[in-house]
Every structure is written in C-alpha cells, then in structure tokens.
C-alpha cells in the first residue's frame, strides 16, 4: 500500500490542489497497478470545491482515461462534510472514488445507480456480473456496463477468469489497502 497524506486543517486553493495532484501522479507512476494508493484526509477539516476539483476531480478523470498510473485509489479520513465535498465534485466531473473507513467502503461521485451497484458489490466481497445483476434485478448487459465504468474509474478490481464452459468472465472485488509501502513522506 502506498500512502499520501493531505495536511490540514484546511485545503483552500487550486494551486495547492495542483501541487498535490502532480505529486500523486508521480506516486501513481511508481506504484504497481495491483497495489492501492491510500489518500488520507485525517488532518483535514474542510476543503473548498476549488481545491477538491483541482486535486481529486482532475486526477480521477485523468486516471479513468489512462493518463496516470492505474493503481486503485482509496480515500480515508474523510468527515461527513469533506466526503460531501468530494461527492459533489466527482458527480460534476462524472467520475467516482472509493471512500474506505473502518473496514467499510462507500462510493463517492457517480449517480444513485452506480452507488447502489458498488454497495451491493462491496457487500458480496468477490462477485461476477451475473451475481450482482440477479441481486439488483437488472440485465447482465446493464451490469457489465456499470461494472466497466467502476473498474475504469479504479473503484473495482477485476481478475479475468476463463470458465471451463468457454468464454471470458471477470471476478470483481473492491480494492483494499495492502502492506505499507511507498508514501509522499
């Protein structure tokens, strides 16, 4: 696990958001794609929308289109207020992030459907599209589309499986922190 700490109590400016984004992009370039990067907001009491957008909004959009390293990104240490700020920012940017705290994971950003899908998947642990499609009463095609979006945004990890019956299948799971490793300190 690679860690990245945001200093507080406030994060106010786009300039600071840009500095953090550039540092995190360097960290992502150095971290393997199967190792999560944990961004800690433990010290942060409030973030302006401008900072959040310049830092997380732009970073996650760039990551989703392959402009940064592909390690999953996890957010920790958010309060209800800072989580709300991130949620609003990512909704506007049409991207998502995983907020993990005390063993539970929630999706920030995205719409209600994506949030519901992620929550159902997190509850299952490891799952296939067919499993979740049945849980949520939707078609496999729909579920594949949702899971693809979540995977591309780094909110889900998927491992390819080749079933004996032929074809291609993916086993999905939510990203979790692994052993301590690189950090921005």
């Amino acid at each position: 696990m690679a860690s990245f700490d945001i200093t507080g109590p406030l994060a106010s400016t786009r300039e600071r958001g840009l500095q953090y984004r550039q540092q995190l992009e360097q960290l992502l370039a150095a971290v393997p794609a199967d190792e999560a990067v944990v961004i800690s907001f433990d010290a942060v009491k409030a973030m302006t929308g401008s900072f959040t957008d310049e830092f997380l909004g732009k970073l996650l959009v760039a990551r989703a289109v392959g402009l940064t390293g592909r390690a999953p990104i996890l957010l920790t240490g958010l309060t209800d207020e800072t989580a709300e700020e991130v949620d609003l920012c990512l909704e506007r940017r049409k991207t998502v992030a995983v907020w993990t705290e005390n063993g539970t994971a929630r999706l920030l950003g995205g719409d209600g459907t994506l949030k519901q899908t992620f929550a159902a998947g997190a509850q299952r642990g490891a799952f296939r599209a067919t499993d979740l499609a049945a849980d949520l009463g939707t078609t496999q095609q729909n579920m594949n589309n949702r899971l693809k979006r979540l995977h591309e945004a780094g909110a889900l990890i998927r491992d390819r499986q080749d079933p004996a019956s032929g074809g291609r299948e993916f086993l999905y799971r939510t990203p979790t922190p692994l052993a301590p490793g690189k950090s921005n300190h």
């Binding site: 106010s12 400016t13 300039e15 009491k45 929308g49 401008s50 609003l88 506007r92």
Partner: protein, 270 residues
C-alpha cells in the same frame, strides 16, 4: 466615508487622492479591505494617496486595531489625523486583522487563522464551513483578479450574536472583465456579470469549473446569512431570508469586493 476625492496637484505632479473618513461613524470589515485595496491600487498607479482618520474616537481606534492604518501606510498612503496609541490586547478570539494576501500560500495561512477564530465560538463543522467560504473568495481573487497590489482580507466574530463577517477586496480587473474572456459572457453589464457569476458553471476560463461562488452562496444561506458583491459599478446582494436576489448598478469600485455575513450556531464551549 466619502468616495475618494480626486484632484490634481501642480503641473508635473501625480494625481492626488484623498480618502476622507472624518465623518465616519461606523466601519465594517468590508469598508476596511475595500479602502486598503483601493488606496494601494491608486498608489501603485502613481497617485499621491491620503487617508483622513475618523473624528469618532471609537471608529479611529477600530481602524488602528484592525491594522487598516498599518496597511495603508505600507501601501504608500499618507495617514492624516491623530493615530491613537492603543494597548493591543489580544483579541484573536474575535478579530482577524486586515491582511494583504499575495498568493495561494497566504490564502491557506489566512484561512487556517479564520478557522481558528471561528472555532472559538462554534462547532468544528461550522467553523470549517466559514473558513471554506473565505477560501473560495480568496482563491477566486488571487487566481482571477490580476491585482498588482494583491488582495486584502479581514474577518470578525461578533461575540454577543455569534455572527461571522468575512470580507475580501481586490483592485483587479473585476468580474465583468474576467467573464468576458469567455465568449459566452461578453457584453454584460457589471450587474449582469455578478448575476451570471452566481450561477453554476459560469467561468471566464476555458475550463469546466465555475461552481465556487454558487456553492459559497448555498453555504452562506444555509447559515441564514447573506452575500454581498460589488464589482465595477455592479452590486449584488443575496440574503437567505429574502425571497429574491438584488442586482443593480451602484457607485463604482475598482476590482471586486465581497462580504459574507452568517450566523454561526453557538458551541457548548463558546
């Protein structure tokens, strides 16, 4: 305070400007930062700037205590009148004196100080929200105003009511000129520009942004507060308690002035 009187000295001398506060009977943080920004800009542009202190002793002492006199002197203005010698009791619990903000690091430091100020009177959450509003105003100003003399800011908590006042003023290009960089927002009056700036997604940049002011307004109204903006000859006032928003033409000011007034819920330790 009267709008500065403009005059010309003898041939070959710079423009002379007098800020006559002699009749001033009340001053708010917005008056302070607006005056500081205006005076600094005039001096920067070559004017000989003079500030006449108020005759009212309480107001004069407030201006000194809030560091307006010090900021004016640093900006090159001559201060006329008796400058009272005051014992600078530690009022960091209610006052955040006028400060010149020159870039993002200054913004971060000032907002942290505002958070500490508000935290003495309200919950962590409300204090953070107050500092966040200030952060949006200041970040906007240092990013977009293009003011050659920086941005001026001040804050104050009214101990009895728990009301928080935030004030930010620059003497830069103004909201209309900033928005005009976006072809969608050319040919607006200053009042129209303020109205547009309070809508989500409106920006003078080519980027997908422009939500800072609308979000700030939403937060301020959530605290039952109000937002006042002045830019060029535009004036905008939005109050949580009133059903509408007021946009009009008013006396011209250089750059953009912003004032937020909110009611902070008391915390148990306040």
């Amino acid at each position: 305070m009267h709008a500065p009187a403009l005059g010309h000295g003898p041939p070959g001398q710079d423009l002379q400007v007098v800020f006559d506060a002699s009749d001033m009977t009340f001053a708010s943080p917005l008056d302070l930062v607006g005056t500081a920004a205006w005076a600094a800009r005039l001096h920067h542009d070559g004017a000989a700037v003079e500030f006449t202190l108020p005759g009212d002793d309480d107001v004069r002492r407030y201006l000194v205590r809030m560091d307006l006199v010090a900021q004016l002197s640093q900006a090159g203005a001559a201060v006329r009148g008796q400058v009272p010698s005051i014992r600078r009791a530690d009022r960091a619990d209610v006052l955040l004196e006028v400060r010149r903000i020159c870039g993002a690091p200054d913004v971060e430091i000032f907002c942290d100080a505002a958070y500490d100020l508000a935290r003495q009177h309200t919950s962590d959450r409300s204090a953070a929200a107050g500092a966040k509003m200030l952060g949006e105003l200041l970040d906007n100003a240092v990013t977009h105003a293009g003011s050659p003399v920086g941005v001026y800011a001040a804050a104050q908590v009214h101990q009895r009511s728990g009301n928080l006042e935030l004030a930010v003023a620059d003497a830069g290009i103004g909201v209309r000129a900033h928005l005009a960089r976006n072809p969608d927002f050319r040919n607006l009056t200053a009042a129209q520009a303020l109205r547009a700036a309070l809508q989500p997604g409106v920006t003078g940049t080519s980027e997908k942004r422009g939500n800072g002011l609308p979000d700030l307004l939403s937060t301020a109204c959530g605290f039952g507060g109000q937002l006042l903006l002045r830019s060029d000859d535009g004036y905008a006032q939005v109050t949580a308690d009133s059903p509408g928003r007021q946009f009009s033409a008013a006396a011209q000011v250089p750059g953009t002035w912003a004032w937020v007034h909110v009611r902070l819920p008391r915390s148990h330790h306040a």
